[in-house]
Amino acid sequence: MWQNFKNGFIKENPVFGLYLGMCSSLAISTSLNNAIGMGACVTLVLIASNVIVSAIRKITPDEIRIPVYIVVIASLVTIVEMVVHAFMPDLYTSLGVFLGLIVVNCIILGRAEAFASKNGVVSSAIDGLGMGLGYTFALLLISVVREFLTTAGLSFVNPFDPTQVIFSFTIEALEPYTISLFSASVGAFLTFACFAALFAVLRERSNKKEAK
């Protein structure tokens, strides 16, 4: 079980390893705040959908399982969207259309089909948590690089109350050298490509170790 949980981070990282959920991870990784907010939303939806799909796996007819999963996921996303709209309006505006598009995030449907439909409720919940955190981890990596290169600093504010800054720093010596290109789509693709290459190397190393 612990292995399942750990796999989500490096070896089977859903974003860099399996190339799932790429649209959202490229688009909203412009700042740390967006990354953490989006990561939390996806993790919540993933855990809840895994639990529900696993709980109803014995009464779901096999022929219509995909539509059933889609309805479960769409309902959960609607709930999360409403909660974020009500309590975190800033996050709602900056995530924009991508909050609703969690429905078509392949990680969620992928896990429902590949794991939750075959396993018990508890291990599905843990799988959801592991995969969700793996996704969040990937978002954090990309967004830290992009935010640092565009602003020469990092900051994180309380999503419930945007006036309350949790931490924030800038390295003034680097400020004249910021690369604004990295907040545009070019930067997203380049950062993502470099991390994907790095993870490919890490994966190969750990495979070699296991082979020995």
Binding site: Y19, T78, V186, A188, A196
Partner: protein
């Protein structure tokens, strides 16, 4: 008429759905290995998005809004899209075997293509009227097809290029996509 033209040009070049909005990246990487497949996938996407947008547009203004249940938008839209794709697949299979052969494998993939849901929702959130909806739901997937085709031509050459081992496959494709995004950002001023 001029506004509609500007809308179409903007959707194809300036706000390109793949390179500036980051939607449909999965098929963009998955189906871009040969230019023939890219055209097939592009046509299937245009067809599905056009149909699905018209249905969801009618559904929203004729059913959801009069009943005051706009919050059901996400659930109804995704179900309509999934059903529509399934229906088209069955229809094409029965009536045109050659078209089914050409598009068949791409159709099931389109359900999880986020562009479809995005265009359906975008038509509603932007408050487009019927004419604008029609133009938007043809122009956005046309932009997708254009980029998919261009990218597949680049990728055919990339296969024979000497890339570092770690970057082989998807990473180098993403770097290429980034450079394409840079080229497309030059269109920003034209509309």
């Amino acid at each position: 008429m001029m506004e509609l033209f500007a809308l179409a040009l903007g959707a194809v070049l300036v706000n390109n759905v793949v390179l500036s909005k980051f939607l449909g990246i999965c098929p963009f990487l998955g189906v871009s290995k040969s230019s023939k497949n890219a055209i097939g996938m592009g046509l299937a996407v245009i067809f599905v998005i056009f149909g699905a947008s018209l249905i969801t547009y009618a559904l929203y203004y004729l059913v959801l809004e009069p009943l005051g249940i706009e919050y059901m938008q996400l659930i109804t839209f995704i179900l309509v899209i999934a059903t529509f794709v399934q229906f088209i697949e069955m229809f094409i299979k029965k009536y045109s075997a050659s078209l089914y052969k050409a598009l068949g494998i791409y159709l099931p993939l389109i359900t999880t293509n986020c562009v479809v849901l995005f265009v359906a929702q975008d038509n509603i959130t932007q408050g487009y009227n019927l004419a604008e909806t029609i133009v938007n739901s043809i122009a956005v997937p046309a932009g997708f097809m254009l980029v998919l085709y261009l990218f597949s031509c680049l990728r055919e050459r990339l296969d024979s290029a000497d890339t570092p081992k770690a970057f082989k496959g998807n990473p180098i494709a993403l770097v290429t996509a980034g450079l394409m995004a840079l080229a497309f950002s030059a269109f920003a001023g034209i509309v």
